[in-house]
């Protein structure tokens, strides 16, 4: 790789490091793993960089987020124990359970903490579409590229994710 290529890489990738770290943090739910995922992803990005022909800043961001997302998934597979714990959590916080005891969970915490908890308890598929849409403002098409699923799947996951958040956050119907 020539040094001008390295500079181009740094210009495309480094401005989106906060977005990359935020996504990794939500996918791993852990600062330390998120750092390792982002560093790993940035090295992968460097290797694939010759194949990246986009010029606009938004394209670079979606491209990097796709690599971060795939790295985080590989990371989960490699760390089996975490995957098992997470699957257990997902089962425990399934839709019916969340619907049964929303008040106690929400009233105990501030809105921000309750929200973070609600997001962390979403299944991974749902968590990633929420972060990509609400925090990164990606279009359905961009999310479909990042997550590697059809636009229709993005649409239904996002909707189901929001319905779960609504159930978790709106303890009292008149709150919402």
């Amino acid at each position: 790789m020539e040094s001008s290529e390295l500079e181009r890489f740094e210009a495309v990738v480094l401005p989106h490091l906060d977005a990359a770290y935020t996504l990794a943090r939500y996918l791993t739910r852990n600062d330390h793993d998120a750092q390792d995922v982002v560093q790993d992803a940035s090295l992968r990005a460097l290797r694939y960089f010759a194949g990246f022909r986009g010029g606009e800043s938004g394209e670079g961001r979606a491209w990097l987020l796709a690599i971060v997302r795939n790295t985080a998934y590989t990371w989960r597979q490699r760390h089996r124990t975490d995957t098992l714990t997470t699957e257990f959590d997902e089962e425990r916080h399934s839709e019916t359970m969340a619907g049964e005891h929303p008040e106690a969970a929400v009233e105990a915490e501030s809105e921000r903490a309750a929200l973070l908890k609600a997001i962390d308890e979403l299944p991974l598929d749902f968590r990633e579409v929420i972060v990509l849409r609400e925090l990164e403002g990606l279009s359905y098409k961009e999310i479909s590229d990042v997550a590697g699923v059809p636009v229709g799947t993005v649409m239904s996951r996002l909707s189901r994710a929001r319905r779960r958040l609504e159930a978790a956050l709106c303890a009292e119907p008149e709150d919402c």
Binding site: Q39, S42, R160
Partner: protein, 257 residues
Amino acid sequence: MTHPAFEALLDAYLDGELAASDAAELEQHLRACPACSRLERRRRAVTSAVREHLPRFPAPEMLRTRVRAGARAEASRAERRRVPLWTAFAVAASLAVVALGSRQLALRGAAGEAITNQVLASHVRSLMPGHLTDVLSSDQHTVKPWFNGKLDFSPPVYDFAGGGFPLLGGRLDYVDGRPVAALAYSRRQHVINVFLWPAERGRTAGPRAATRQGYHLLHWATPAYTYWVASDLGLSELSDFAALLQRGDSAAAAAVR
């Protein structure tokens, strides 16, 4: 209870992802159906709460430094893989000529060369994910005691944050057939590794410089310690850093006397 397919359409509408004709039809329905328009209000409230309150996590400065350093290490590795064999021979031949005529390539001898390569390899390895520090702290009073019981010497650890070279942490490494102390410092986005171990029979050596694969290495020996410093930082700034270390050691030695 609404149909999930309708909810998904409503969400797509709120996200501005619905075609104009579908959006018009949906709006018409919302005006006519109180239950659906209640659902719409709830969705808007939840979505705006998420956008407003869901925290973003800024990348830690340390991560930024590591990503940059890692990219540079990877780029120089890729560059080396790409060099054709005949070019490598030509470069080696021209370097040999330069070495014969120059005093600058001061690191000579098979033993010195082997240590140079080990230090370089350790430096590059430390830039790979999760390898830079075993003890992560910018506090010299945390890093120094961490080595207790792990090495047969207690390495001097300085904090040069005031001089623009903050301490990142320390780790154990293995160079020249023995465990050594490795201390990581940073300068802007650059990582500096300091390797040190007790000097042999009090033999001192003056600062010498070498450049390998785009990294600069400095070596010197005080009566107490053998030092190696490696970084992709420019040679003049790296020399400033070495001078800080040497001043730190002289001050410590003077205090003992």
